[in-house]
């Protein structure tokens, strides 16, 4: 079981209030991603759940039991750290077995579980090596192995992929998602990368300056961002924001339209402008366009769309996909 509930939890370091009181429910078996820019308090929130930091106020319940002052060792949670935090003086086998040793699990049982975990993670042939002799991806798997052997109530991941190169990151993303499907254990995953959040999460928690901006499924956040911050943070390239007359015509202070919801044409459309930069990715063409009214907008065109610096293009927004925000940045419906 792994139901975690945060009740008016807040955290201050000295006079600095990094997390104002917040509430959050994490259901058993959910894959929850905390996402936000650096310094938004997402890692601190994870460390509060882990018990590596004290909450300044509020309550943390794990499976209905008050765990607010329970030391980390007793919370029954596993954590995978950003630096992997492997024990450099122990072999892979001993690293993975360490939590079992601490829990006093019998030797034979421990060996069986370590070998099972190693098999799942393709580490069997590395069991006798030291972490220093492994590649980044292998170290990552050892850290995960160490987390899964003790069958925790929930896994905590603190930006686990940020030290890997791009290709490996995509692979590990898929592996972790599959692991979650197999184990069906609650996972809480911290990242600053909205692509990781979108692809892995059942539920995304967007954090900004310690506050929860929005909680919801990836598509819900994409389709109905609750405010300007979420709208700008989720989706790549970023959503375009238009203010002024065009927005007022739609009855909003700010109008948001995603690059992929603009139709680009060489001949006709609602708005017109000149291309500043054209990025041809093959599958798509991203255009940075300087509109005639002086504003700049990003649009996605077809991979075959021909444009270069200075080309005049026309844009037609899909009115259905407009996001309307009021003067305080909140979504209007």
């Amino acid at each position: 079981m792994g139901h975690i509930s945060l009740n008016q939890v807040s955290k201050s370091f000295g006079d600095v209030n990094v997390i104002p009181p917040l509430n959050l429910e994490i259901n058993d078996g959910e894959f929850v991603v905390f996402v936000g820019p650096s310094g938004c308090g997402k890692s601190t929130l994870l460390r509060l759940i882990a018990g590596l930091e004290d909450v300044s106020d509020g309550k943390i319940l794990i499976d209905g039991t008050d765990a607010t002052i329970t030391p980390p060792a007793k919370r029954g949670l596993s954590m995978v750290f950003q630096s992997y935090a492997l024990y450099p003086h122990m072999s892979v086998r001993k690293n993975i077995a360490f939590p079992l040793k601490m829990a006093g699990v019998e030797k034979e049982e421990a060996t069986r579980r370590v070998e099972a975990a190693a098999k799942v993670l393709n580490l069997t042939e590395y069991l006798n090596r030291r972490p220093g002799q492994l590649s980044g991806g292998q170290r990552q798997r050892v850290a995960i192995g160490r987390a899964i052997v003790r069958e925790p109530k929930a896994f905590l991941f603190d930006e686990p992929l940020s030290n890997l190169d791009a290709a490996l990151r995509v692979n590990m993303r898929i592996e972790i998602t599959e692991l979650h499907r197999d184990l069906t254990t609650t996972m809480i995953y911290v990242t600053h990368d909205q692509v990781e959040a979108m692809t892995m999460a059942d539920k995304i928690v967007v954090l900004n300056e310690g506050r929860i901006e929005q909680v919801g499924s990836p598509l819900k956040l994409y389709r109905e961002p609750a405010n300007l911050f979420v709208a700008g943070f989720i989706g790549s390239p970023r959503m375009n924001f238009i203010t002024g007359a065009a927005a007022e015509k739609q009855g909003a202070h700010t109008l948001g339209i995603r690059p992929e919801h603009l139709t680009v044409s060489n001949s006709a459309g609602e708005w017109t402008g000149k291309v500043g930069v054209a990025e041809h990715l093959g599958s798509d063409t991203f255009l940075r366009i300087h509109l005639d009214d002086g504003s700049t907008i990003t649009a996605r065109g077809d991979g075959d769309f021909e444009a270069e610096h200075g080309t005049t293009v026309w844009l037609s927004p899909d009115a259905e996909k407009f996001h309307r925000f009021d003067a305080s940045g909140m979504r209007l419906n």
């Binding site: 590596l52 030391p71 360490f98 160490r146 905590l156």
Partner: protein
């Protein structure tokens, strides 16, 4: 980026450096050689450098005249004993200061260092009187206590600078893996810090071995370590150069060899991390 240096330049620097360092090392070499001479050869003029009748008579004489093994044993007990005791007290303290720093950690560290600045002569009398009244005078236990206390700040400082290089996340991982504080220090921190602990141990054994203020003032016969054993040669009887050399060689050889292994760590330890 190393760059090419002309062989001539390198040769002249090499000759100069070897010459100077040989001169600096010469007194030690000379002491070592003289130990294998007879007393007559030891004062012969002109002195012979290598071509003399090598023999062990001086070593035999030293061992007959005094109880070298006893003093050696005292030195070992005092230096290793005080270092081991110091490590035992210092490891938890250094853990606390390196991994749970608080507002006053820096002040506490600086204060500990300041106790090291206390000139020994300023506290000689009270320590002497306390030791006299508690029967610790001229005991190994007494010297272990004093040397532990005077070297404790250095031990804590050295461990602290080594511990700080260990990533805190690894200890947090141990905590998440269910390790108690005792297990965290025993199974994770200590093995990871073995190189640092070893060099701390080495430097402190050297410092304690050579400590000559307290060992001379607080011992008479029973607990006298090698420093005091050698000091007995300050009032000579007859010809004694060969014997002095033999005794000196026996007193310094173990520690000079240990010292050579620890020269890199010595810098860090002796400058409290200010020079690395």
């Amino acid at each position: 980026m190393a760059r090419a240096v002309s062989t001539r330049r390198k040769t002249s620097f090499t000759v100069a450096a070897w010459a100077v360092s040989f001169l600096i090392f010469f007194p030690i070499l000379w002491t070592f050689l003289t130990g294998f001479k007879t007393e007559g050869e030891a004062i012969a003029s002109p002195p012979s450098f290598l071509f003399f009748d090598w023999n062990l008579s001086a070593y035999e004489a030293v061992n007959q005249r005094s109880d070298y093994p006893k003093h050696f044993f005292n030195s070992v007990i005092i230096s290793f004993g005080s270092t081991a005791l110091g490590l035992l007290i210092a490891i938890p303290a250094a853990w606390a200061m390196a991994f749970v720093p608080a507002k006053h950690t820096k002040d506490i560290l600086m204060w500990m260092l300041s106790t090291k600045m206390l000139p020994p002569v300023g506290v000689l009398i009270p320590i002497f009187l306390i030791f006299r009244d508690t029967g610790l005078l001229d005991t190994r236990t007494g010297l272990v206590i004093v040397l532990t206390l005077i070297n404790l700040p250095i031990i804590i400082w050295m461990l602290f600078t080594y511990f700080r290089e260990i990533p805190g996340e690894v200890l947090e991982a141990a905590r998440m893996d269910g390790a108690s504080l005792r297990n965290e220090i025993l199974y994770v921190l200590t093995p990871m810090a073995v190189p640092g602990i070893a060099s701390t141990l080495l430097l402190n054994v050297i410092l304690a071995w050579n400590e000559a203020f307290w060992t001379l003032n607080l011992t008479a016969a029973d607990a006298a370590p090698l420093t005091a054993f050698i000091a007995a040669f300050s009032s000579p009887e007859g010809l004694f150069y060969a014997k002095l050399s033999a005794a000196s060689t026996m007193a310094i050889a173990p520690i000079v060899i240990l010292g050579w292994f620890s020269q890199k760590q010595l810098v860090r330890g002796m400058t409290f991390g200010a020079v690395k």
